[in-house]
């Protein structure tokens, strides 16, 4: 192998980024780029998996057969999306189960939105509409992420996720246009999910330490605040259309900028939830840990059987 020095490698890497050439698994990449990707993609994967729990909470109570099948398919998709993402993480030399252990120990984070409880059927609507809506805003630019496997996983996820938001909006609009009890249920869900959904885009740009580096590396393509604004601008009219009120007395349309302006986000709440003190943090992580621990004998059995079989075939 020919001798290549670090500066040359870095220059070649940067030149690829500049020319919008994707970085692939075996290519040389700076250690920090790899580390950032492993952190971001595994947290993204964890979010999909933990995200199964709040909606999974309603699978057995779905109000009719159609909703039951749709919800089940949707939560299953989230497992699939988690898997596509873990698959991308493994191309970076990280081990899936180790990243999962980091989730269980509290070292790795996941989207804070999933630490809120789902207390009514309307929450299934609000999650699909707002949470998946926000997730799509975040994910669409990631389809152009500089790391090939991540970008490809995102293309797949975005394709599948468009049904998620639609089914959520269908649920919430059916309620909003239904009986007074149903409308109240829908409004209550919007009241509880609106602000946490806005927090999903992460802290304001000024307080987001990783943003600039990630933008330079073309892992991230838009800033938190840009995406949040985009989400607000498309969602407010949707709420109006179905007769629900955004729970923000300061919300107003700015004719000059062509954007909505919102009140202040409660960042104290955001940081409290991120650091483990949300309403359901403990339950979510405990449920994932239990699944892994309860499944251990199953995974061991399958492996033991495969080895027995191999040995039998060999003899």
């Amino acid at each position: 192998m020919k001798e290549i020095n670090l500066t040359e490698l870095e220059a070649a890497f940067q030149s690829k980024l500049d020319r919008e050439i994707r970085i692939e698994p075996n290519d040389w990449m700076p250690a920090d780029y790899r580390k950032t990707l492993i952190r971001q993609i595994s947290q993204h994967a964890h979010s999909e998996i933990v995200g199964m729990l709040p909606e999974g909470n309603w699978i057995t109570r779905a109000p009719n057969l159609r909703r039951k099948a749709v919800l089940l398919a949707k939560v299953q998709d989230e497992a699939g999306h988690g898997l596509y993402l873990y698959s991308a993480v493994e191309t970076l030399g990280a081990d899936r189960e180790e990243t999962i252990d980091d989730l269980h120990s509290g070292k790795a984070k996941y989207s804070s939105i999933f630490n809120y409880p789902t207390v009514s059927w309307a929450d299934m609507g609000a999650i699909g509409w707002l949470v998946d809506g926000a997730a799509i805003m975040n994910q669409v630019p990631l389809c152009r992420c500089s790391y090939g496997p991540y970008a490809r996983a995102m293309v797949r996820v975005c394709k599948e996720e468009s049904f998620h938001q639609r089914q959520g909006f269908e649920i919430i609009s059916k309620l909003a246009l239904g009986t007074p009890e149903q409308k109240e249920m829908a409004q209550d869900a919007l009241n509880r999910w609106w602000w946490p959904a806005l927090m999903m885009f992460g802290p304001n740009d000024a307080d987001s330490p990783h943003t600039q580096q990630s933008m330079n590396w073309k892992i991230k393509r838009s800033t938190n605040d840009e995406l949040r604004q985009l989400f607000i601008d498309v969602t407010v009219p949707q709420a109006e259309l179905i007769g629900l009120t955004i729970p923000d007395p300061d919300l107003k349309w700015n004719q000059e900028t062509g954007h909505y302006e919102i009140g202040t986000i409660n960042w104290d709440e955001f940081w409290a939830v991120v650091s483990g003190n949300g309403p359901c943090n403990r339950e979510r992580v405990a449920a994932r840990k239990k699944a892994k621990e309860d499944g251990m004998w199953v995974r061991e059995a399958a492996l033991a059987h495969a080895e027995k079989r191999k040995a039998r075939q060999a003899s």
Binding site: R61, L65, G295
Partner: protein, 250 residues
């Protein structure tokens, strides 16, 4: 309007509905991500089958009820699923053994039902058979892996089989409804399926190094609406929305 066909269809529907509900409880809690997805696929298939069957049961009943009415608004005594279907998930071994006993039955049952003179039942059977072949393969392979895996998995699989074996016989329950429809070439004569089922179960159990229990004690009642204590809780959950908010659309 044919009440025998409706009663008959409802049994098949209830098996799918209640077992599908049970399997769906795994979603998000599977022993590994890949298997979580596989179990959910099975639940989805079963709920899809239940939906088609309930629609047909509602139509043949002729009382103006919908599939959802049948799924969510009957009294416990009106559900006619086998007791096996409502048994709790337990550990993964218990879920897999329950599924295997059921899938093996369903495989031969649907194969035969494809020849029903009732075109609607035959069509549902044909579609469901494809799904069931996959379920059968999946649960049989897992029974073998667990039975012939580690010492712990063998013990767990054997315990599950010892627990659930007494519910298997009810899969072959028949009464006047069956005999009436068998005479018309509509229903499946389950006595013809029983030996096929047993042969296949024995074959897989042998490969899994599991022992079929030698008890003659069988648990029955589900087909006549007499259920275990478990079904009431399952229905309380399943019917929660429809009971709390009567008459609303979702």
């Amino acid at each position: 309007m044919n009440n025998s066909i409706s009663t008959y269809t409802l049994r098949i529907a209830d098996d799918s509905l209640i077992l599908g509900h049970r399997v769906s409880e795994w979603c998000g809690h599977g022993p590994i991500l890949e298997e979580d997805i596989a179990l959910t696929n099975i639940a989805l298939d079963l709920i899809g089958q239940a939906t088609s069957l309930l629609e047909y049961a509602a139509a043949t009943e002729g009382k103006g009820r919908t599939a959802d009415d049948l799924a969510f608004l009957r009294y416990e005594r009106d559900y006619t699923n086998v007791l096996l279907a409502e048994q709790p998930n337990g550990d993964f071994g218990q879920t897999i053994v329950r599924q295997w006993l059921f899938d093996t039955f369903r495989l031969f049952f649907y194969e035969a039902l494809c020849y029903s003179k009732d075109p609607q039942l035959a069509a549902i059977a044909e579609k469901s058979l494809k799904e069931t072949k996959y379920h059968f393969k999946h649960s049989s392979e897992w029974v073998i892996r667990l039975g012939d895996g580690t010492e712990e998995s063998h013990q767990r699989a054997q315990a599950a089989l010892d627990l659930l074996w007494r519910y298997a016989e009810e899969l072959f329950f028949m009464n006047a409804v069956d005999h009436e429809l068998i005479a018309q070439g509509i229903a499946v004569d389950l006595t013809t399926i029983k030996p096929l089922w047993l042969e296949r179960i024995q074959h897989v159990a042998k490969e899994a190094t599991l022992k079929l229990p030698e008890t003659n004690w069988v648990m029955k009642g589900g087909r006549e609406g007499q259920h275990s204590e478990y079904l009431g809780y399952l229905l309380a959950e399943m019917q929660y929305m429809q009971r709390t908010y009567p008459g609303m659309e979702w």
